[in-house]
């Protein structure tokens, strides 16, 4: 049997990842989230669909499913998701809600982080300005990583970015709200961490005994409010 010809007509570039997986490379985290959401919505038969900063990993594929998925991914376009958000994805703008729209999760924060003054300096504002910008930003959970339930929250502009610490803190407490680059995140459990600390929240980000263990799975919209 002759190998099937695959032609890329969409924005997805595929990379091999062993016999049971495909790595789909896209422009940015918004497109990755849109692709992962599409895959979940149409019911792609993958054991894992893992969005990340510029990729979506499809793992746990049956051998026969790999070729089919390859075809579908190479012709996938963001308008396969929903017409109202496709232009944002193409333009690389942060995407708001994708797919089934759940309620916005509100996260109350006490803004007393050790790096507030540093962030203010990087952003060219004062501490009140930092808090106002953080509260005023509509965030979306783009993907999880680093630790169970740790969501990379998109929504801040790419500039001015806040660099990580050169050397991570040995212990960051659970509930710490922090920034790195243009990402915001909340530490679900106490761990070492190199992100800049804005404040803290009492909200439980991760509870393995809940039906939905992660509070902020990919696609969740997030608003921070003053506690």
């Amino acid at each position: 049997m002759a190998p099937r010809a695959h032609r890329q007509t969409g924005p997805v570039h595929l990379r091999p990842f062993g016999p049971h997986a495909l790595l789909a490379e896209v422009a940015d985290a918004s497109a990755a989230l849109a692709l992962a959401t599409w895959a979940r919505t149409v019911g792609i038969a993958a054991g894992e669909v893992v969005p990340a900063a510029r990729t979506v990993l499809f793992d746990g594929l049956a051998t026969a499913a790999v070729e089919d998925l390859r075809d579908r991914l190479l012709t996938w376009t963001p308008d396969a998701v929903a017409p109202d958000i496709a232009p944002d994805i193409v333009a690389g703008r942060p995407v708001g809600p994708v797919g089934p729209v759940g309620p916005v999760v509100e996260v109350p924060v006490v803004y007393d982080g050790a790096d507030l003054a540093y962030i203010a300096e990087q952003w060219g504002t004062d501490v009140e300005g930092v808090v106002a910008r953080h509260i005023g930003t509509a965030f979306t959970s783009a993907f999880c990583g680093f630790a169970p339930g740790f969501a990379y929250l998109a929504g801040l502009p790419s500039e001015p970015a806040v660099p990580r610490l050169d050397s991570p803190r040995a212990a960051v407490p659970a509930g710490a709200v922090a920034l790195a680059g243009s990402w915001c995140g909340v530490y679900p459990t106490a761990s070492p961490g190199g992100w800049r600390l804005l404040g803290r929240t009492d909200v439980v980000l991760w509870d393995a005994t809940r039906t939905d263990p992660a509070l902020l799975p990919p696609g969740t919209r997030v608003r921070f409010v003053r506690a």
């Binding site: 979506v56 990993l57 999880c144 263990p213």
Partner: protein
Amino acid sequence: MSLHVLASGTLTTVQDLGRPGLAHLGVPRAGALDPPAAALANRLVGNDPDAAVLEVTLGGLVVTTDVGAWVAVTGAVCPIEVDGAPRGQARPEWLAPGSRLRLGTTSSGVRSYLAVGGGIAVEPVLGSRATDTLAWVGPPRVEPGTRLPVGPLVRRPAPHDTPRPPRAGALRVHPGPRADWFVPRALTTLCGSTYEVGSASNRIGLRLEGPALERVRDGELPSEGLVLGAVQVPPDGQPVVLLADHPPTGGYPVLAVVEEADLWQCAQLRPGETVRFTPA
């Protein structure tokens, strides 16, 4: 009934088939590192394949039971005693109430599996009883004093199981997603060299030392999803084969992916032993 743990050696954990499907939430899959050995132990005592077993690192486990139980030990070779009398590996043994089962220091391999008829019945976490040692999702590590509940017997043990254990050999590798981060001969170097197992190897990864896999780019990728068996290469060029507790995402480029059926060998290689790779 329950098992009472008197000693637990270097590291003993509860393992089953793991909890795949949660990588997008940052949860490692976990599960027995030598799946054929764990499956054999379960078959021998009449358990279903998804029953939980104990994974014992380098021996040193001592348990007693309050009610009689069928047990079987597979995987890494170690002396097995019940109340001081030697018993066989890879066959069902009856552990009478109050008797003491001891796994001595392993003589070859790293991880032994103890299955109990009925399975270790600790409360599942997110659909699995496996302990992940990266983020510690799942039951806590087994310590002296732990009482482990055991489930009801599903069927009688299978004393005549005649398994054909998988044969050790070179690890077969498929091309990985980031070959373009390496010099063109990197895969040839990986497959043409002998690598030594490093002492920092664990359930997260098999760390190898040998000819450096030369990169043409410095730095890290934006984090991306990782698969079981990915051969990840940090800036020092020394490969790491990712095992069951690997982080779901990472930023080091992946040169190759080890065939899943060969990964059990990574569970049994000791620091200082050598390993080779071959194209799949």
